[in-house]
Symmetry: C2
Subunit: 130 residues, 2 copies
């Protein structure tokens, strides 16, 4: 029987690394960190990252080309993500606000179109850096 959320070996290694990291990780920094576990080539990393993103276990911070573990279980279905990014210290936090997600999921553009998939990145200074 197929378990929907079982990770393969490479996926698990890479997910564990990202999940433990206090900050988003870049693909080649992931590669460097997992070479001792036998993952030698960029493609092995990118393939695992693609799947993990697809599953919603991690998200890509597009403006930083970096990957962060999902901090909020609902993204596994929605692919609707929001982050705050500190422009001083680069601290990145996933925002989990039901009012925000409701507002965005119900937002209609001028053609009346709604979008269930989106990515929002807020920029500013975090608590410490203010």
């Amino acid at each position: 029987m197929h378990k929907e959320n079982d990770l393969t070996k490479n996926q698990q290694i890479i997910f564990d690394l990202i999940d433990k990291s206090p900050e988003p990780l870049k693909a080649y920094s992931i590669l460097f960190n997992v070479q001792k576990k036998g993952i030698k080539a960029p493609l092995q990393v990118y393939r695992a990252l693609d799947k993990l993103v697809e599953m919603g276990k991690i998200h890509k911070i597009e403006s930083r080309n970096a990957f962060i573990a999902c901090q909020n279980s609902s993204c596994q279905v929605s692919k609707a993500t929001a982050f705050s990014i500190c422009e001083m210290c680069e601290k990145i936090t996933e925002i989990s606000s039901s009012s925000l997600s409701k507002y965005l999921a119900n937002f209609k553009d001028k053609d009346g179109m709604k979008y269930s998939k989106y990515n929002l990145e807020f920029f500013g200074l975090c608590k410490k850096c203010r």
Copy 2:
């Protein structure tokens, strides 16, 4: 006297190209297109792009590494941008909705923090592709 919004030669060439384009342009496609005008190296393109983004004349579509002319004059101050992206045909439109921009500018995260700078990318199917 310094005119705040005068573009330099390279900036003007590159802005004109992007502004005329019906679709977002990537840096190396820009480079290819302006080589006949004497812009020969990636850095010349990236430097102009950086300035144009800073001025708000163009925006970067982060999930596509592509650049689009601002379709809405207010961004020149705010750096608060929103786009809809068709996942079928890649048509990209800048969203100009005062209710959306008000909502996002007033959004407070769980620390009570507000953000005047953000980038939002909606994904779905455009009118034609539905």
